[in-house]
């Protein structure tokens, strides 16, 4: 019998087939994470190029950075806001579109279309519309309302980034929810109606539990996506006014590439990574508690 049995050949093929993907992850994800950990333990003088090992100094700086609490607050408000508005709006549109009538495809296309619009182009147009003398205030003016200078006040600037972000991406959740809604067996609705359940009760007791796996997935993906929103902030507000829309991602970029503080920037980046990992783990655990499975 030859050395190259089918089994051996299969094992070799398996390794060869996954090799490019594995190499990509090792080289462009795992190695850089390791390097980021090393950088976070060093102070890096960009002008002399000298790295000095400083141990936990950069981590100590996290607690003494007067800007960080505001950045974390902005991050929490932005991510929380995006998730709440996105999931609610996505579910609302999906429920409205989950019935048969003429024009349903047209509406689905309209709500989904911003997803394929370039993030920067989309954000630029909203920046144009939200200026003090821009289109939104112009429209408000025609009905006698003097609109605020949206991007120049903390509260309205944050609301603006959240809303523009949600409108651009809610189509994805809408499609996921629509698919989930269509998977709910019709017999359940009929049985509930025969038993005289109100439509609100049907939604709360049948629809929501049955689509909860999809809801959970959407929440995870949306939070993680919000935590990584860079272009929207950079183009619309540049983190301002003051620090009101400086989310962690933008702060990492500023520290590392504008202030050239590689050590502290890497420490902040690892803080971001830990948030993403904690959120994913927490939601993974919650899954058992509030996700309903048919079997």
């Amino acid at each position: 019998m030859s050395f190259w049995t089918t089994r051996r050949r299969d094992v070799l093929t398996g390794y060869l087939f996954i090799a490019p993907q594995l190499a990509g992850v090792a080289l462009f994800v795992l190695l850089p994470v390791g390097m980021a950990i090393w950088y976070s333990l060093n102070d890096w003088n960009i002008f002399t190029g000298r790295q000095t090992f400083v141990g936990g100094d950069n981590y100590a700086a996290l607690t003494s950075d007067p800007q960080l609490p505001r950045v974390l607050l902005a991050t929490a408000v932005f991510s929380g806001g995006v998730v709440i508005v996105n999931i609610t709006l996505g579910l609302l549109i999906a429920v409205l579109l989950n019935r048969r009538f003429r024009g349903v495809t047209l509406f689905r296309t309209l709500f989904f279309s911003p997803v394929v619009v370039s993030v920067v182009a989309w954000t630029l147009v909203w920046g144009f519309l939200l200026q003090d003398n821009g289109g939104i205030n112009g429209l408000l003016g025609t009905v006698g309302i003097t609109g605020p200078n949206w991007l120049q006040h903390g509260g309205t600037a944050m609301a603006s980034v959240i809303i523009t972000q949600v409108i651009r991406s809610v189509g994805i959740n809408m499609v996921l929810f629509l698919a989930a809604l269509q998977g709910v067996p019709g017999e359940l609705y009929e049985a509930a109606r025969i038993d005289g359940a109100s439509s609100r009760a049907i939604f709360a007791r049948i629809t929501l539990p049955l689509i909860s796996p999809t809801l959970l997935l959407a929440v995870i993906v949306t939070v993680v996506g919000a935590l990584q929103s860079f272009a929207q902030i950079a183009v619309l507000t540049e983190g301002g006014p003051e620090l009101s829309t400086t989310v962690l991602v933008y702060y990492v970029y500023q520290q590392a590439f504008e202030f050239n503080d590689i050590g502290y920037g890497s420490t902040l980046a690892l803080l971001l990574l830990s948030f993403v990992m904690i959120l994913t783990l927490v939601q993974w655990q919650l899954r058992r508690k509030w996700v309903f499975y048919e079997q």
Binding site: D10, V11, G14, F17, I18, P20, Q21, L22, G24, V25, A26, L27, F28, L30, L31, V33, A36, Y39, L96, L97, G103, T105, F107, T109, L110, F111, F112, S113, P114, V115, V116, V117, S118, V119, V120, A121, L124, V125, F128, Q131, N133, G138, L139, T142, I172, V175, L176, A179, T214, Q228, F230, A231, A234, V235, Y253, A256, S266, L272, L273, T280
Partner: protein, 280 residues
């Protein structure tokens, strides 16, 4: 019958509500196109209007003269196409192996690959910048191509492909084996052709991911002729740093419209592609 008219009323209400809800989804794009053909003096007219009596394409020509916009456009297109092709190849190979071939350590290695989805690209960009600097690849397109084609977007693609191949019936492969086909031939001639829905989902998601990159080009690229579109769009500013709105909106229109046209033509693939990525 009255129940029939009640149903009509409810339907009209539904369509009305959807129509109002759709406004912020549609108006920005329409406004962008409308403003791009207005003379600069009319862009901030009050009260606002989508109409102009003096349409002009001046902003469109200016977009090409102010920056090497044609070149930047080509950069975005060729990078996205290349990234998509590499990802299709790499993810269909890896996805197939993880789904159908039994080899020692497969599960552990799959978890290692999935870790690539957990790490935001912002976390790795500082070290990657240093790596590419050492390799002499700063201010080239290589970082944009390699990282997108092999890291996070490709991991998502590998995951989608694996889920698809797991669901394929085993009998297909067994029959091919009896006919004497080896693994690579089974993958190429039997499984890949069957995987068109998953492949089109992967292609769409990867193309969009590459097309939208903003942080990466901002960090890696400094020469205007190497810029990609998102980066180029933010650079239409006059000598005083003021934004040249009509030029910017014309450039944005040229960036957005082709994608919208493709989307409307291949709507089903887009929507199913997204649903595919999340459900299984």
């Amino acid at each position: 019958m009255s129940s029939k008219s009640a149903r009509w009323g409810r339907r009209a209400l539904l369509v009305g509500a959807l129509g109002v809800l759709a406004i912020p989804f549609v108006i920005p794009t329409i406004w962008m196109v409308a403003s791009s053909v207005k003379p600069l003096s009319e862009i901030f007219a009050s009260p606002p209007s989508l109409w102009t009596d003096h349409p002009t394409l001046a902003a469109y020509t200016e977009a090409f003269t102010f920056q090497p916009f044609a070149r930047q456009y080509l950069n975005s297109v060729y990078i996205a196409v290349l990234v998509t092709l590499i990802t299709l190849l790499v993810s269909s190979l890896a996805g197939y192996a993880f789904a159908r071939i039994r080899f020692p350590g497969a599960n552990a290695l799959f978890l290692v690959v999935l870790a690539g989805l957990l790490v935001p690209s912002e976390v790795t960009i500082v070290p990657l910048f240093q790596l590419f600097k050492r390799a002499g690849l700063i201010n080239t397109h290589w970082p944009l191509i390699l990282v997108t084609a092999l890291a996070a977007p490709c991991v998502l693609a590998t995951f989608i492909m694996r889920q698809f191949f797991i669901a394929l019936p085993v009998e297909l492969e067994e029959a091919a084996r009896l006919d004497g086909l080896g693994r690579p031939a089974i993958w190429l001639r039997i499984c890949v052709p069957l995987a068109k829905p998953a492949l089109s989902a992967v292609a769409i998601l990867t193309f969009l991911a590459s097309w939208n990159l903003y942080l990466e080009p901002t960090v890696y690229i400094t020469s205007p002729e190497l810029f990609t579109l998102p980066q180029a769009l933010t650079r239409f500013t006059d000598a005083y740093g003021g934004q040249m709105w009509n030029t910017q909106l014309a450039a944005a229109t040229m960036t957005v419209l082709p994608m919208l046209v493709v989307f409307v033509l291949a709507q089903r693939q887009f929507v199913e592609g997204i649903a595919h990525s999340g459900l299984k």
